[in-house]
């Protein structure tokens, strides 16, 4: 089990962004669905050790992120793509990915090959030495994915990774996810329901800080047979579960 979460809570002032979440995840691709404001990003940020939980138990890669030493070990094996990733406009693609490879304390000798592999894997080999300010939004998103995978993480956290990618790139990205999910735990937070159906082996649906559904995409689809609205079966399951949770 790479992720073990028990009754996790996070408050900002009076607002409970995450209100008692239980989650267990091993290797594979794990989808996190939910409307805006459901708490997905906050949950992901806690898993990325960016913010500490207010209450509850969090164990990542068999370590406790509350202590400095284990947290550093977790972060060396972590890949994180935030929802809004800013870029250093004067850096090139390779320089950007290399910068974060170094900050993840990868052994310096392995960095050039790892950076080259990551850049090629997101299909930016033809723009490797282009400045980031010359890239489109979708390409910048792929640069973000490259820095997340450069250290071959055991825990990969992606917040809205397909924003700005065209359909062909999304297909390639899902194939990449499946490949990464063979060895690592990949958690993908998205509000695009179809991304989840294609790539994830397990799905959790969040609403108002709680998990209201956890299971396989097929099980989510099954929930939507009568009640849900939507064009695709998975969407119908999504809306059905949300409606039931709110009633």
């Amino acid at each position: 089990m790479n992720v073990e979460i028990a009754d996790l809570t996070r408050r900002f002032g009076r607002n409970q962004a995450v209100a008692g979440v239980d989650l267990q995840a091993g290797p594979g691709v794990f989808g996190l669905l939910g409307p805006n404001g459901a708490g997905k990003t906050t949950l992901l940020r806690m898993m990325a050790t960016v913010i500490p939980p207010t209450a509850g138990r969090l164990r990542l890669l068999d370590r406790d992120p509350g202590a400095y030493g284990p947290r550093r070990e977790i972060r060396r094996r972590l890949g994180y793509l935030p929802q809004n990733l800013g870029y250093y406009p004067g850096f090139t693609v390779v320089e950007f990915v290399e910068y974060f490879a170094l900050l993840k304390e990868m052994p310096a000798a392995r960095v050039p090959a790892a950076v080259a592999a990551a850049v090629e894997r997101v299909d930016l080999g033809g723009r490797a030495r282009a400045k980031l300010r010359t890239l489109s939004g979708g390409m910048l998103r792929r640069v973000g994915i490259a820095q997340a995978i450069v250290n071959e993480p055991e825990l990969l956290l992606l917040d809205e990774p397909t924003a700005g990618l065209d359909p062909e790139q999304r297909v390639a990205f899902r194939a990449l996810l499946r490949d990464l999910g063979q060895r690592a735990t990949v958690v993908v937070s998205t509000h695009l329901v179809e991304d989840v159906g294609a790539a994830c082996s397990e799905v959790a649906l969040m609403d108002a800080g709680k998990i209201v559904f956890q299971g396989t995409p097929a099980e989510l689809t099954a929930r939507g047979t009568e009640q849900g609205t939507g064009d695709a079966p998975l969407e119908r399951g999504y809306t059905a579960v949300l409606a039931a949770a709110r009633s």
Partner: protein
């Protein structure tokens, strides 16, 4: 964009041009090297070849024979690899590259690595004549490998001598073309 322009851009430091060149040429270089070396060595030699191309692109004079230039670099890198390996591996390479029936003709002082390569090149070029049993291959085998006169070859194959001569002519032409690539001529 043709190959010469690509190499010019590589000389100017454009890494995307090197990537494009790799895309065009790595496969056939790999195939040719694979007939001489094991797979892991092929990867090493290819890597060194393209790095050498990256560093040495300014020395390339455009004459439409980029493939030959690359193959020349690859040969040298393969020879370097074999030399680094040592005499035992070189002997093995010589024996495996040559045909089993031929006696090794190591003249004293000859570089086993170079010989291994030369033999492998020749074998590859002969393979370019066509599959075993094709007309040009048969003529080549009988006339040049077994050194028989035209009349005898004509009788063995059951065709008129004129046909034997024209097939031999075609075989020489094909062989010249195949070996020319190896020596840096037009592709």
């Amino acid at each position: 964009m043709d190959d010469d322009e690509l190499v010019a851009r590589i000389a100017a430091g454009d890494d995307t041009a090197l990537r494009e060149l790799f895309g065009r040429h790595a496969s056939w270089l790999a195939v040719r090297l694979r007939s001489m070396l094991p797979a892991a060595d092929v990867e090493d030699v290819l890597q060194e070849t393209f790095l050498a191309a990256w560093r040495g692109a300014c020395g390339y004079r455009p004459h439409g024979a980029c493939g030959g230039w690359l193959w020349g670099i690859a040969r040298r890198q393969a020879a370097l690899l074999l030399r680094r390996r040592g005499p035992a591996d070189q002997a093995a390479a010589v024996l495996s590259a040559g045909q089993a029936a031929d006696p090794p003709d190591l003249t004293p002082g000859a570089d086993p690595a170079e010989i291994a390569l030369a033999r492998a090149e020749l074998a590859a070029a002969v393979a370019a004549l066509g599959p075993d049993g094709s007309p040009e291959r048969e003529v080549w085998r009988l006339m040049y490998e077994q050194d028989r006169p035209v009349a005898e070859v004509a009788e063995l194959l059951g065709v008129p001598p004129g046909t034997v001569k024209s097939r031999a002519h075609r075989a020489r032409r094909l062989l010249r073309a195949a070996l020319h690539v190896a020596e840096g001529g037009t592709r």
